[in-house]
Symmetry: C2
């Protein structure tokens, strides 16, 4: 395996000394999006990203330490990342072909299987809060476009002028994409990079409840009301009693493979590790699901492209949370089973990661 | 088990005498939506529904017999049902709270894992054809709203005046729903029925390729740009090399459980029947997935409501196609393993079905 790509990924292991012996240790994992290459980041931008990720972890941490549900930690962490212009979610979202910011988000409560999702909103300051309102205050799971904004107004979810979301860096990314499109030769790196930058969080609370959430501005220069995986329950977000996943990467592949649900399905199917000889442990089930995700994409994406898509890393990132039933993961304090370098992520938020293909 | 509900469900077993011995028999399964109670249908309406289902089977059958891919059979069958005003898809779709017809559709090619989906379109005559265009002529999987319609225009997919979709029966259903909403006491039957009527198809072609597709007008009196399971890959539609599913029922539960993908995931995990003692056969894996779907919904939906929701039937309907690897299903000519009455469905399109709870 060769070191091929960089990813903004935040991790925290939070141990809860005050909890009863049988209570699980609260845990929060956040990501600031796959596909962010170090060369595209100035030192100042990197500092800003690290500061925002730290703040997101702190806010989510506070919620968990106060005994609040995993859902609160996920919402708190994602709200911070949506508010920070560094990430492709909320303020700082990428621009559509028409020069708009179009936001998607979803979250899921693993304890109850309740979920909420919104897509194609232009005025909602924190789409994750609207997704939560859809889950908690409507009989529905998913709302899109103007209808979703009407619901936001009724629910008194903060709305802003669309100009709030604009950042110069994202605007210039669109201009570059448009120029390359006109020239008929989109730059491969940009072609890849324009799919990335989504933020997400997965959490485990003291009561053992899991939750997952994801928020994004989608892809630069997107058209036709394209919706990616982030607001699709089962593709970019899924949580149940054993598993919580937030994805980031090339959304279309996440949808086709139903990646978030596939990982959870594998964890559920094989969740009794080492009791019956010959049956897979949850750890190996999750690892094989990561391997499954990556090669399935290879033929269509081409070798070169895949090398710069740390899809597998993110699936692996999710895997840490996903397999909380696995003793090996618990005792190893979230070290990635396939790659020791991941361990660094527990302390360092900005990490290098392996490409699995 | 007690007979509790009626469902419009079409099934066909098509044997292909001309094919080589090793080639699979082409197969087409269609449904015209769960939850249609016989008492709500006049004799004339029932005749019309049967005629449309027969025509849909005939068109899909023709495609398969001509050696065309499963995807063509699915598209052909669903196009017929969208054109017929009997079903809640295309012409004859239910009305939103604002008196509009808002259409959703998706399809998936099991052989390549390519997929296409559209949601919230108002002018596209056959949403299933637009979903197919998204799959074949864009790099995306899902498009929504005006953006999707712009893509339809570019792709020369037939568009019509929104009045084309209007039927008096659906309009009256909306009026009744609005009145009951104002009175604050929505009728429970209507509350349940307003989620249903979706159409769908799954097919297996001579080359062994599977495909699935679904199309709907959503739920009567829906608001806020609500999107149900039908256009969500993994919820209402999924297909891979072993499995193809089209769902119909209360969409929110399909999304939360990622029902279509869950069924396929179970078939894939346990697809080596009877070779290893103690491992589940694909037939029992699918059956347990049906059982999983129904009880998971019970606590939240209440006993009474669930009895009138033939969700399990539809999951079972999909199961027939889903588990084509199972010898028992092949030799029994698609008899439902859990209920002999299903066998009648092979000959009679309008069937009674069991509620699994």
């Amino acid at each position: 395996m060769k070191l091929t790509s960089a990813v903004l990924l935040g991790l925290a292991t939070l141990s809860c000394g005050a909890a009863a012996a049988a209570a699980p240790s609260p845990l929060l994992v956040i990501h600031g999006g796959a596909g962010v290459e170090r060369k595209d980041f100035s030192a100042e931008e990197e500092r800003a990203a690290r500061a925002a990720l730290t703040e997101a972890l702190r806010k989510g941490h506070e919620a968990l330490m106060a005994g609040k549900p995993a859902l609160d930690a996920v919402t708190a962490a994602i709200t911070v990342l949506e508010d920070d212009p560094t990430f492709n979610a909320g303020r700082g979202a990428v621009f559509t072909h028409d020069g708009k910011n179009e936001l998607d988000s979803s979250l899921m409560d693993g304890a109850t299987l309740r979920a909420g999702a919104v897509a194609g909103v232009h005025t909602v300051k924190n789409p994750i809060l609207l997704a939560r309102a859809v889950m908690e205050h409507s009989p529905h799971v998913m709302m899109v476009g103007e209808g979703a904004e009407m619901f936001a107004a009724e629910q008194k979810i903060e709305q802003v002028d669309p100009s709030y979301f604009r950042t110069e860096k994202r605007w210039q990314q669109l201009q570059r994409a448009l120029k390359e499109e006109v020239a008929g030769q989109p730059h491969a790196d940009l072609e890849t990079a324009k799919h990335f930058g989504t933020v997400g969080a997965v959490a485990l609370d003291r009561e053992g409840r899991l939750a997952a959430g994801t928020s994004t501005g989608g892809m630069t220069n997107k058209r036709y009301g394209r919706v990616g995986d982030s607001p699709i329950i089962g593709a970019g977000t899924y949580a149940n009693a054993q598993c919580a996943v937030s994805g980031t990467g090339w959304g279309e592949y996440y949808i086709r493979l139903a990646v978030a649900h596939e990982i959870c399905a594998r964890c559920s199917t094989c969740r009794r590790p080492r009791r019956r000889p010959g049956r897979k442990s949850s750890s190996s089930a999750c690892r094989s699901s990561v391997e499954m995700v990556a090669p399935s994409c290879c033929p269509q994406m081409g070798r070169r492209r895949l090398r710069s898509i740390p899809k597998a890393c993110i699936a692996a990132g999710s895997e840490w949370m996903a397999c909380r039933m696995s003793p090996s993961l618990r005792t190893k304090s979230l070290r990635c089973p396939a790659n020791d370098r991941y361990a660094a992520a527990v302390r360092n938020i900005f990490i290098e990661c392996e490409d699995f293909c």
